[in-house]
Symmetry: D3
Amino acid sequence: MLNQKNNDNFLGGPQNFEESDIVIFGAPFDSTTSYRPGTRFGPKSMRSEFFGIETYSPYQDLDLADFTIYDAGDLDLCFGDCSYSLKQIEDMASEILAEGKLPFLLGGEHLVTLGNVRASAARYPDLHILHLDAHADLRDDYLGMQLSHACVIRRCHEILGDGRIFQFGIRSGDKSEFEFAKRHTYMNKFNLEGLENTLEGLRGKPVYLTIDLDILDPSVFPGTGTPEPGGLSFHMLLEGIMKITESMNIVACDLNELSPTYDSSGISTMTACKLLREILLSLSAKQL
Amino acid sequence: MLNQKNNDNFLGGPQNFEESDIVIFGAPFDSTTSYRPGTRFGPKSMRSEFFGIETYSPYQDLDLADFTIYDAGDLDLCFGDCSYSLKQIEDMASEILAEGKLPFLLGGEHLVTLGNVRASAARYPDLHILHLDAHADLRDDYLGMQLSHACVIRRCHEILGDGRIFQFGIRSGDKSEFEFAKRHTYMNKFNLEGLENTLEGLRGKPVYLTIDLDILDPSVFPGTGTPEPGGLSFHMLLEGIMKITESMNIVACDLNELSPTYDSSGISTMTACKLLREILLSLSAKQL
Amino acid sequence: MLNQKNNDNFLGGPQNFEESDIVIFGAPFDSTTSYRPGTRFGPKSMRSEFFGIETYSPYQDLDLADFTIYDAGDLDLCFGDCSYSLKQIEDMASEILAEGKLPFLLGGEHLVTLGNVRASAARYPDLHILHLDAHADLRDDYLGMQLSHACVIRRCHEILGDGRIFQFGIRSGDKSEFEFAKRHTYMNKFNLEGLENTLEGLRGKPVYLTIDLDILDPSVFPGTGTPEPGGLSFHMLLEGIMKITESMNIVACDLNELSPTYDSSGISTMTACKLLREILLSLSAKQL
Amino acid sequence: MLNQKNNDNFLGGPQNFEESDIVIFGAPFDSTTSYRPGTRFGPKSMRSEFFGIETYSPYQDLDLADFTIYDAGDLDLCFGDCSYSLKQIEDMASEILAEGKLPFLLGGEHLVTLGNVRASAARYPDLHILHLDAHADLRDDYLGMQLSHACVIRRCHEILGDGRIFQFGIRSGDKSEFEFAKRHTYMNKFNLEGLENTLEGLRGKPVYLTIDLDILDPSVFPGTGTPEPGGLSFHMLLEGIMKITESMNIVACDLNELSPTYDSSGISTMTACKLLREILLSLSAKQL
Amino acid sequence: MLNQKNNDNFLGGPQNFEESDIVIFGAPFDSTTSYRPGTRFGPKSMRSEFFGIETYSPYQDLDLADFTIYDAGDLDLCFGDCSYSLKQIEDMASEILAEGKLPFLLGGEHLVTLGNVRASAARYPDLHILHLDAHADLRDDYLGMQLSHACVIRRCHEILGDGRIFQFGIRSGDKSEFEFAKRHTYMNKFNLEGLENTLEGLRGKPVYLTIDLDILDPSVFPGTGTPEPGGLSFHMLLEGIMKITESMNIVACDLNELSPTYDSSGISTMTACKLLREILLSLSAKQL
Amino acid sequence: MLNQKNNDNFLGGPQNFEESDIVIFGAPFDSTTSYRPGTRFGPKSMRSEFFGIETYSPYQDLDLADFTIYDAGDLDLCFGDCSYSLKQIEDMASEILAEGKLPFLLGGEHLVTLGNVRASAARYPDLHILHLDAHADLRDDYLGMQLSHACVIRRCHEILGDGRIFQFGIRSGDKSEFEFAKRHTYMNKFNLEGLENTLEGLRGKPVYLTIDLDILDPSVFPGTGTPEPGGLSFHMLLEGIMKITESMNIVACDLNELSPTYDSSGISTMTACKLLREILLSLSAKQL
């Protein structure tokens, strides 16, 4: 009469923290979302629907059943207090990193990335960021606020400095953001062209991978706070991510901006789940 | 770094089977639903949203935090095989009853009741049924099938015989069902009038309480497979249920027919959750 | 290998025009709807979902299976040409009336009533109208247009004159409409009070019954073009209609303003279907 | 070629601040919402749909066209910074009060009330609060945060002290809130009983009226962040509000917690608009 | 006063069984659907919306008005009894085949294919299957059940044996299914590459074409039970199907897994209807 | 205390008619829509959500903040009276053209184009039309009506004559429309191939650009009255439009057929807004 079934973690069965190289945790936070809130339901929706996809990947011929991954659940974040929430995320990530494991953060809005990056940069001073997104997220402030989803990569830049951030797929921002990018980051607009060159240059570096799912076309991923027409197909994104995970030394990463309420068909959640499966498999296979 | 949070049981925290007088389990089954399927998502939706209501009831001045209730999770039922699914439900209920505990079943379609009733009648030969529903569920067969949600009370009657089933709120059925009721059950059409008299007569008997949530008006509970206009308000149903739980010897019970897909506002799930809270509190308080 | 099943009429089986006292026809028209269009889908949605309710009524202990009613299907109306559409409705109704049968019109927006009333008044010069609605529909013109859903009862008044129109449930309109009502119609605001007195006075007269389903509270009937909070419950409306059909000489009638697109739960269509069943049964039983 | 039409204020036409006794302003803020965010879209949705109801009220026989009310639009609030947002609300309200006008605030989540109450209490030291709500909102903190929608009346109590706050309709909260209410506020659970006595005692006092629309039953008002089954009907709430506005000296007020995303039928927005119309008419008529 | 209009068959007008080479029938069955049920509404939704597309195809310069196709309507299948439902489908298909006509089955879930294949294999012992799908459907059992949508092609393999089944577009399954495919079927993963070679080899053979519409990308076809990201565009699928219908000897076929409830925009139903039109035109033109 | 914020025009700030070269106005009209109405809400939805995209375009490196564009708001059109509505549109466009400005019309259904074309052809007798659409819109009448969305380009042809209309992307129509096109217009089916040749030939001519947004694939743009599978991607359409606006002498244009009700995700409105931004920027930059 055990209640294993409603142990709603991604892998369904019993978990083993010690043997896991990757630790998933959710940050259900969307307090600074400026357009349409709801990414707080992202991690919960992914856990709830993950059973709807297979554990086996025909793309990689790998099966999650063959790996040990720990799902630490969601943090209890306080809506309306960004600084404290970021601190909670940073503490969790630091703890995971201290155990020599990879913190895999599920947002929530993109601001949550800052907590994970702070912890990662503390442990890996030479950290570089690969940023896949529709939006530049390079504002200095948004409506007077510096801790905002629209400023998150700018805040990361303050930690890492020039030449450490590589942005792909960017198709939206204000003029100042694109000008900032010209001077301080590498930015490839609209798609993933140039990704291979970038990966060549980053080989061997510790890399933080942050994926804002709105890089996908809204037809593929309508369930997000700020849909931006003209994005990537699922195949383009999957191919790009596989190139990254296979060749880079990923030390921490995140997947964010799923807002399931805006997609009554549920395809956005399935897309997030399938990408999660592929990333987990690729990262896990390398550690064998 | 424990993952207590995604232990998505109704009470959130750690569980203790031994100390619990009530054991909740879900039967996510809707294979015989004839109109609109989807009640399979009922228990999952209730677990997922239960955190959205308080644990404290201002109606009863009681708090779930003060009681120990065990949530055994959902059964793994096979879609398309009714007999086997009912057997799984019966086995689970029998096991709970054998421990001297009350099996609280969450449907699923109404057919699941049959498994719980079979187990309960085996343990309590003098079992009586209180049936709150919009539909009579008294057909002998439905499209040639005897194990159907439209036949469930008829099947219960075959177990218990005349004079043991008391139906309230019934406002739909075919002519033969209403004629069957005249001869074999007590039926109060449309509302809960006469409930107090019935309860008077049942005092001291072992009672199975089955609640098809479509007894509520569709305005209050649109998220169900077969909405039937002209039903009860939330207050009317809550008041009736409280009368039952306070005065009856409930030995097993169920709450069924929540189909969350049909209610994008989510109010049906909240209604099911709030009724669950009130029933759990009322039953638990009696056992103190 | 006959294709009886997709003969999507209300009664499912083969039809017999000669033996039918009532002829149903749909007018899928919403060209003058000013707020939210979509009532064109009303009749189609009702035919599609009618199988979801029983043919037997426990309210009246009558079964549609025991009566012969003819469903003539929907008219092919031209969107954007009100005069011609009204003419098509009038012609259909005249043809039905000429056969001594009752034309039962399913809207569409409320303007369609005018076609049916024109035909009925031509045959029954002493026609009176019972009008159940949230809106007065008494404007002389709406944005310069005289053939508008907001003017339909005013147009009927031009045909019938003072003292022939009795309005119930009205809770919305502009000031001029309520002033017009004081001088030219009988109007009972907000509910059905006074209905019995009115029925007393109309006994023996030929009566046209027009029901705008938005007389119901939006909680009960959200699927309508102009929802107006503060309306009737299902029970109140059903009880009022039963009083009317049982005591009045109904010569023609309509049920309109179902707009299923605005109600993803489907409860509005079920409500319209159930009211249709009850009216058909009540009218048919009288003719036995 | 003027663009008066897209001047999307509530009264449609040109505005006159000087002649207006009432000034409406919106606070599109939901950063502390703990369950389902989205009330930020409340004021916008109301402005957008207000044209869908008449300006004339058959309940009061009054017409908005006969009064001058100023709609100042929505504040530009920064998501994620509660203190600063509340300051902006307070400043706006103070400015309106300084002109001898009534600040009519449209939320947003219930926390916005605090800004308006601060300004009102500063101007009217003897301020009393009439609080209509499903939730007690009396927590000291929520997940460690004191500026939360769940704490807003507790914060108001810190300003006003015992005996100044009168709560009606409350049907949800944790145990400590109900205990706090016993000692520090007047609370009537579940409905509006006792309202007349309260009004008797408040006659002549300066009163702040705060209406959390979730006091309504979710069937009537599904479009809200935290739906709570078992609430008031539209008629019950309208009747209660009319008693208040007719007899009290309302110096400031608010209407909050409309979250239109959760109600695809749009009836929640229409309900909020109709209540707004009735309150504006009642308050305006008194000042004639 | 004929009711031709609500004769809701695909071609609208009167039908002629004798002259038709193709007979359409629906199997509204979804009892074994494991993730999200609702394909039972597929055929009904297609019939209801088919009028929304033209009868003329600019792709083929052909018009349905120039051909005679018989729509036999939907079978009355019993939910919850898979064996009997499959028998009903098989009987219907056998009857159509016996008349020398092509049975065109509309699902429902993919399991319905088995009934049509059984009848076709009985008549054409050399039957080959072309299977377009996102899922392999090659499990031996699913949760202990052998008659499941996830096993349907495996069951077909038991009838036809090795070398007779050709699968395209497959991008999901468990590991054992892909291993089974290596030994017993031809499988092309992810897309339609290699289709022309396959068609070359099948020339002249009797071919059963089964199309699970979830082969399409979820952006194009969200209304399905198990959406699988990374699928075909409409153009890719249409082009592939045209190659098949033009060159193959199709003796029976099906189109399945439309679940309209999950797509409130209705584009999935339109996509299914347009593909149906193109297939019907292509098959009909060959028989001229 | 100014209410600038709810001045819901596209550019947010104060407006200057004199300095604007482009004047936007909306025609919220859908009375002749034959399948699914609702495009009346198109302009309102675009104004309401336009703030959700940036004013800066990374595609063109231009910012709307650097240009002066006048938004005249929406016309008050009478539903159900097509001739008068078209006259209102024509008058508005004539007035704008008389000032030497470009009338940018936002539909509404496609019929509204006729009013704008009438005015434009009166001012530019040598007018040519570039027509991007899924549908040919070349019927002589639709259900007997000549002023219908399905006939709008045919009506334009009556004004302009042969050789003046160039149609792209057309993938639906009845046979007669495609035959009419062969004789009287230039039509490129399915996509934008041949656009460059056409533009070459039109260089220097006054061109009217009409964009029916259903030229996009329904996956990209589900929110439209008549979705037609197999359309353009966002990139393909944007690229085509940019070629047109950069090289052609556009004297008037329109963007129509957004029907937001059918897309609960909101991505269709965002797509329309982004295309509007790009067109406005491209046209404005040329006039510098």
